[in-house]
């Protein structure tokens, strides 16, 4: 469905992505893990065509069509929705207007109404506050609004950028449940996360990104057993001395 082949993206002279390939099939939840500055968000922005004249090299294909260097507005029309990091809702529009903007490209009124109903089933709080200005919502509600707004476009592929950022653990769990439910309806998901445990638990495949390169990729259940992932992304200490501290600093094997 989505084939990202060997893309390289740079901000000026700084290479942020140095040859990344991703491959998503229909129905997948694939997840990209990585520390701050690893280039996770840059990958998504490159796919969405938000970075001008990027990727510098490589190709991106969606449903057999080249989409690299296409206009964002056209990429969205093909059926990819992106929930950006930090919500990016329209603060002075009402919740309802925000959702309406999500379906901007669509003409089928019945379908829109149906999707609106579906979104309010996922997030009942949005229906309760539909006439409230979106800027007055709490952080978690804004995240829900951002996801709901993306769903209103009825995408085939949903790119999620750190949906758990700044949310309480309980809310994170809720959001991830909903992401799973969305996937069950047949929407393919590419999830970028810092919360590795959550991401690996709902995804079926994971990529580990470091300094703009994919250093490890496998099915999530394999990754969950990987020693390096355990140590550096899940925070599980593998060896401890009798005195209760680690005697040496573990090195990552993939470098």
């Amino acid at each position: 469905m989505l084939k990202v082949k060997n893309i390289e993206t740079s901000y000026g002279f700084v290479n942020a992505i140095r040859g990344v390939s991703l491959d998503l099939e229909e129905g997948d939840i694939k997840t990209v893990l990585g520390a701050n500055g690893a280039g996770k968000t840059t990958i998504l922005k490159t796919i969405m065509g938000l970075l001008e004249d990027q990727p510098e090299k490589g190709t991106i294909e969606f449903m057999g069509k080249r989409i690299d260097r296409m206009d964002t507005e056209d990429i969205v029309r093909l059926g990819i929705s992106y929930v950006p990091e930090g919500r990016e809702i329209f603060p002075e529009l009402t919740v309802f207007e925000n959702l309406k903007m999500g379906s901007y490209t669509r003409r089928d009124k019945d379908g829109i109404r149906k999707d609106y109903k579906r979104v309010s089933e996922y997030f009942p709080v949005l229906e309760e506050r539909k006439n409230q200005q979106a800027g007055t919502l709490s952080g978690g509600e804004q995240q829900m609004l951002a996801i709901g707004r993306a769903l209103m476009a009825r995408p085939k592929l949903l790119l999620l950028d750190e949906p758990s950022l700044g949310l309480s653990p309980a809310l994170v769990k809720d959001i991830f449940e909903i992401i799973k439910a969305i996937n069950r309806e047949g929407i393919t998901i590419l999830l970028v996360e810092q919360n590795a445990r959550m991401a690996l638990n709902i995804g079926n495949y994971g990529y580990v990104l470091e300094n703009g390169r994919i250093v490890l990729s496998d099915e999530t259940r394999v990754l969950l057993e990987n020693d390096d992932v355990k140590e550096f992304y899940l925070g599980i200490k593998l060896e401890e001395s009798v005195k209760g501290y680690q005697r040496y600093k573990r090195k990552k094997r993939w470098r």
């Binding site: 329209f90 901007y104 800027g135 700044g166």
Partner: protein, 293 residues
Amino acid sequence: MLTQLSQIIVSGLAIGSCYALIALAMVIIYKTSEVLNFAQGEMAMVSTFFAYSLLSTYNIPFIIAFPLALVFSLLLGMLVEFAFLRPAKNPTVLGLIVITLGAEMVLYGFAGWKWGAETKSFPSPILDTRVYNLKGIVISQLNLWIFAVCISLMLILFLFFRYSKLGVAMKATAQNQMAARLMGIRSKRILSLTWGLSSLIGAVAGVLIAPITLLDPNMMIDPLLKAFASAVLGGMTSLPGAALGGGILGVVENLFGWYVSTEFKSVVAFAIIVIVLCIRPSGLLARHYVKKV
């Protein structure tokens, strides 16, 4: 005494409505792109001259010439955006504002070259000299029209931004351009339409006040400054604020002119800006949300 006061207020509101229209035009552009359009006045002036040409050179009746002038102004606004603002690569807001100053000079020069610098009278069928008497308050036909047009335009704009998909998309683009693009809203097209709409409103104001100010390339300089003051007074981002600001400014200015001094009438506008910026820097009706993380 009371009649006199009402009279002053009514004429103040009439001129204030014109300020309000131009202020609305400025606010629409400012809201979508944070650019202060200093070419606003000149765009309106050129559109008014276009209407003048149609009326006096080609003898087209006002009822046809006016819509034609509106179409012209719409295209003019889009052209200015396309020709001057869009080519700027990674511009800063300040850079764009300077570009609008440049556009203003180009249009000013063009008007001087095409229509000459001498003052002309605008052959409007709506007359400033035909007056109605309402219980002692005299109101001219022109002022009445200005009121009516202002109020209906504001109502239309309100409905447009509230209920139409395009209007909401314009607001969305203003608030978060990246997110708007992610919704599939073609932000460039929206921006260009915004300029067209703004220019159209300016042209309405231009045609309405042309019979008062008379027609020459400088006609819009004073109204533009007043409109800017009104917009700042109203909060720069609020459409009702701009309308309110225009009304207040027109009335205060007129009261000041009558009771204190005619010479310093224009200064009042700037005194008002200073006072507002001291007491309520964001303007009367501006709302601002702090971004949550």
